[in-house]
Symmetry: C2
Subunit: 344 residues, 2 copies
């Protein structure tokens, strides 16, 4: 199974072939040739030799010496239909720059994150990209944050502004929710409901409340907890007598939205005439239902490459990581009812 692998080329071999010392070879290969004013001829010979032998520094040796790892840690809660693209961006982008992305799914769990952080620290990562949503209580992540302070080049992706001593990016759903709510109000909806996992929908609920307020609407907002996106589960919840007046549902995912549509129809309601339904994540399936499902979209797919790019610039050139905002979008489709926003 395992054959005798040809022992990897070492710096010594390159130096010998180029007819210089290891020092010179090393300097050239690390790009210090010009700075140290090494003879152009030597530079070229070294580079040629390296290419010819297919030399690549042993990362464990140079890592040990330089006290750095050429590894970038990524702690992200992967979910939703674009998680794969996101992950792909991280690892591909890192590889293109000669780095390794050590990617872990944090599942937004503080204990898990703590142990993953420990592992990444052991590996002396050169930088860390971490997704950390505003916790409640606010001190929930205190230990993690103090741990982060000991790491270089920390970049945090979060969902909402929050006093957090790291640069990063805010992916806010505030604006998308505002658009969605405005649309629903314009269509005359009065009784809103949030449907889905309670855990994690706090942000959505707050956002909707704020949106309703800012539009000075007196519409009601019900919170329906649907842990699983099954037809039966959702049906049971929506059958409750208290919930019969609901005319606008914001679901936690597109799956839940689909289940809700099926359940409501079964009860004789027409979608979107009687009840408007909006999903979340804009999965590729959303437009492919018999009634295309409106959704709210996070632009994860372009995000990964951008963040990794910045990270590497920060590591290599010391460019400061900055805080930015990236809004999500409301994607209108038939299930939201009414004419699409922006139509006269």
């Amino acid at each position: 199974m395992k054959e005798n692998s040809p022992s990897p080329v070492r710096l010594k071999a390159v130096a010998k072939l180029a007819g210089v010392s290891m020092t010179t070879a090393s300097s050239v290969l690390n790009g210090h040739g010009p700075r140290l004013r090494i003879a152009p001829a030597s530079i070229e010979r070294v580079q040629l030799a390296a290419k010819e032998l297919g030399y690549h520094a042993n990362p464990f040796a140079s890592g040990l010496r330089m006290k750095r790892s050429y590894c970038i840690g990524v702690l992200w809660s992967f979910g939703g239909p674009y998680a794969t693209q996101l992950f792909r961006c991280f690892s591909t982008q890192a590889m293109q720059h000669g780095y390794n992305a050590l990617v872990y799914d944090s599942m937004s769990d503080a204990n898990l994150i703590a142990s993953q952080l420990k592992q990444l620290k052991r590996w002396r990562v050169d930088g860390l990209i971490i997704q950390l949503y505003r916790p409640s209580p606010l001190n929930y992540y205190d230990e993690i944050i103090s741990e982060l302070r000991t790491l270089p080049n920390v970049f945090v992706a979060t969902n909402t502004k929050w006093d957090m001593p790291f640069p990063g990016i805010i992916q806010s759903m505030e604006n998308a929710l505002l658009q969605a709510v405005r649309h629903l109000l314009r269509c005359g909806r009065k009784n809103f409901a949030v449907l889905g996992h309670l855990t994690g929908s706090k942000e959505k609920i707050d956002g909707i409340r704020r949106a309703l307020n800012s539009e000075s609407s007196d519409a009601s907002l019900a919170i329906l907890d649907a842990p699983e996106p099954t037809r039966e589960g959702v049906e049971a919840i929506l059958s409750h007598p208290e919930h019969q007046s609901i005319d606008a549902i914001l679901a936690g995912t597109d799956e839940v939205a689909a289940a809700a549509i099926l359940a409501l129809r079964k009860k004789g309601k027409r979608i979107p005439e009687d009840v408007a339904v909006i999903g979340f994540n804009d999965s590729p399936f959303a437009p492919l239902y018999d009634l295309p499902i409106a959704s709210i979209r996070r632009h994860d797919d372009v995000l990964g490459a951008q963040i990794m790019e910045k990270m590497i610039a920060s590591i290599e050139k010391g460019e400061l990581l900055s805080v930015e905002t990236m809004d999500m979008d409301f994607v209108w489709r038939e299930s939201a009812g009414g004419p699409p926003p922006g139509t006269a």
Copy 2:
């Protein structure tokens, strides 16, 4: 941003605290205590000291010395709705054993794979898990395979038996296709079609042909190329006059299946009465359409942990990696028509 991190604990400190030499400390911590008959008292003191100081060996130093990396490479073409779970299994499982998973999305592209392999080799991975479907022409992967021979603990996941000098697992859709085809034939279907990306559906087409043969059926099989799973694209294809007699569609993904259902309905066909439709991947959305979509399911979710487990056993205990088969399943739902298989 970066604070003065407390310099990490080194072996020296542990040895001093335990009152032994570095040698002894190292041996104990690597589990050689008993073998070297080190005094039980010393063993305990060392372990205590290590725990107290929170010592963890610098992986770069021990990696350099031991000529190994505690890293496991994963080259996989991530796709389908369960890709995230698969990825999560790989990295979590590796972490639990103190390894790092270096995961790259190979996208089944030979050039990409070659460059990713190079990177992994530089990193001296202790093992490699790679997804490599039977290529055509068969020698397409020759370079990659000869590269793989130079790596330790290679484990290949593939789709079909094929002379490949590595242990691994075969995820075969043969059986699932047979079940699906049998079901369709039992329901009296005569004109089959495969609908989806042509690239990558060769295996499916062959499997269906073999299934039809083994059932001695004279049903026809049309190959419809639908690069994108959009309503319009699929509609255009299915509107072609030649394709009006089709009564059973095996789609490349559940998305394509959904698009096909919409397109066919628009043309006045009833699903599943006039045309049976079967998707692929069994995405969580499949059961949530107004007409639940039958599908074919790959058990990716359990696969990742299993493979990684074996890999680590192979690295640490030299247990041989073995070749196994894992069948996919046909998941009946209403879109496939007829009574579910197994019903009287």
